[in-house]
Amino acid sequence: MSWPKTITSRLGGVRGFDWGPYLSSTSSDAASVSCFKHCPMSDNWLNITVGMKVEIQNHECDLPDHAYWIATVIKIAGYKSLMRFEGFGNDTSYDFWMNLCTQDVHPVGWCATIGKPLVPPKSIQHKYLDWKEYLVKRLTGSRTLPSNFYNKVVESIGNHRFKKGVHVEVVDKMCVSAMRVATVDEVIGGRLRLQYVDSKEENDDFWCHMRSPLVHPITWSQRSGHKLHASQEYKNQCLNKIITENYHPNDAVPDMFHKAKEPQGDLKFQVGMKLEAIDPLNLSAICVATVMKVLKNNYLMIGIDGSMAQNGSDWFCYHTSSPCIFPVGFCEINGLDLTPPRGYKGQFKWFEYLKQSKSTAAPVKLFDKEIPKHGFKPGHKVEAVDLMEPRLICVATVSKVVGRLLRIHFDGWENEYDQWVDSESPDLYPAGWCEVMNYGLEGPRVKVEPP
């Protein structure tokens, strides 16, 4: 795969990016954790509410030992929360941001269990003579985190079967129409750093989430009839595994992956049918495309019209239920730009094009039309994988929402680097996810003006 050269300089972004000041200065909201089903605490996040009380370290204190005080959640942005210490009333000047899923945030009552007293910040100590009365009034009937909150966070981060050393089949990043065998080298929050087993280069790695449609169990390529770049020995072993179901303990097996939806009805995609698809090599474009091959188990090889390599090396595998393929007319109905085949002369009209190319449109019935209640809105800030350089997770904004489809804009970058992704993409994360996982987040690009 030839990456656009201009996009490979993302490492120039701001390291150690801090969401808090950025969210405040841009007056923006971040998508709620409950929008990201693949992320820790997503199922429970609606119970995390503004007004909740927590215990956190009070740095404004003269005591030699750590002191803690009660803070109120003022605003929630992803995993981040704007906090205000109790006693400051409506004074916003000491507000601060914290990540709710770190070990530094405790439920009310935690200090008492470890015998530590709560001490108000020095600047407000004089405000009340009787802090007990004040706290009883402020805390009674309000909400806090459950005592096992942090344990739940830790549990939900590591709750999967992908470990270092597990073998998978994953798309060949140098030839997207083929799969290669790779070994899991590192797992961070469900994201896999994979090393191609046949690679001659030392750091020939590839990042993808364990729920990515790019990664599959061992034997998947042969089961589905997908092109596989692997040794004959590996292929023979796979054939044996398919017959005996006898996997190696390090093999990723089918039940470690999400099952794709089965199509309803007897109608099937046929070779030559036309459709619209997100261009896998230029994710900002939805293009005119063709079904080039029908694989087994409801997988398709799709080619982008006008830019297909002679040998089919740029065909891309999509499941028939993929949210990244659309029926003819999808862009027009939704007011989106459809990229016509390269070199197409005149204004592109599907009716004319189908006639000229003597082809038919894939029936609308064949596409998955389900739109999940995802909760994303334009303007929401997220942490998004740059799918052209998937080891990078960047500060980004949902710039458009079309049903379940999201246009992701990378903050500070031109719109040509935008990427279309599904709302359930495992490559999107809430603000603060990288901090929880201790993964570097690429801040917005800062343009340096020439002197």
């Binding site: 429970n44 119970n47 200090c111 530590k116 709560l118 309000s142 806090t144 985190l145 459950p146 096992n148």
Partner: protein, 34 residues
């Protein structure tokens, strides 16, 4: 400030320790309990 849905919320006595002494308050806890 009673949560509208009490399905995943439980009322609990929470112990508070300050420099002046200890006392308890009644709060709602949730956000992760099954």
């Amino acid at each position: 400030d009673v949560p509208t849905s009490t399905k995943k919320w439980e009322q609990k006595q929470v112990q508070i320790k300050t420099l002046e002494g200890e006392f308890s308050v009644t709060m709602w806890a949730s956000g992760g309990d099954d």
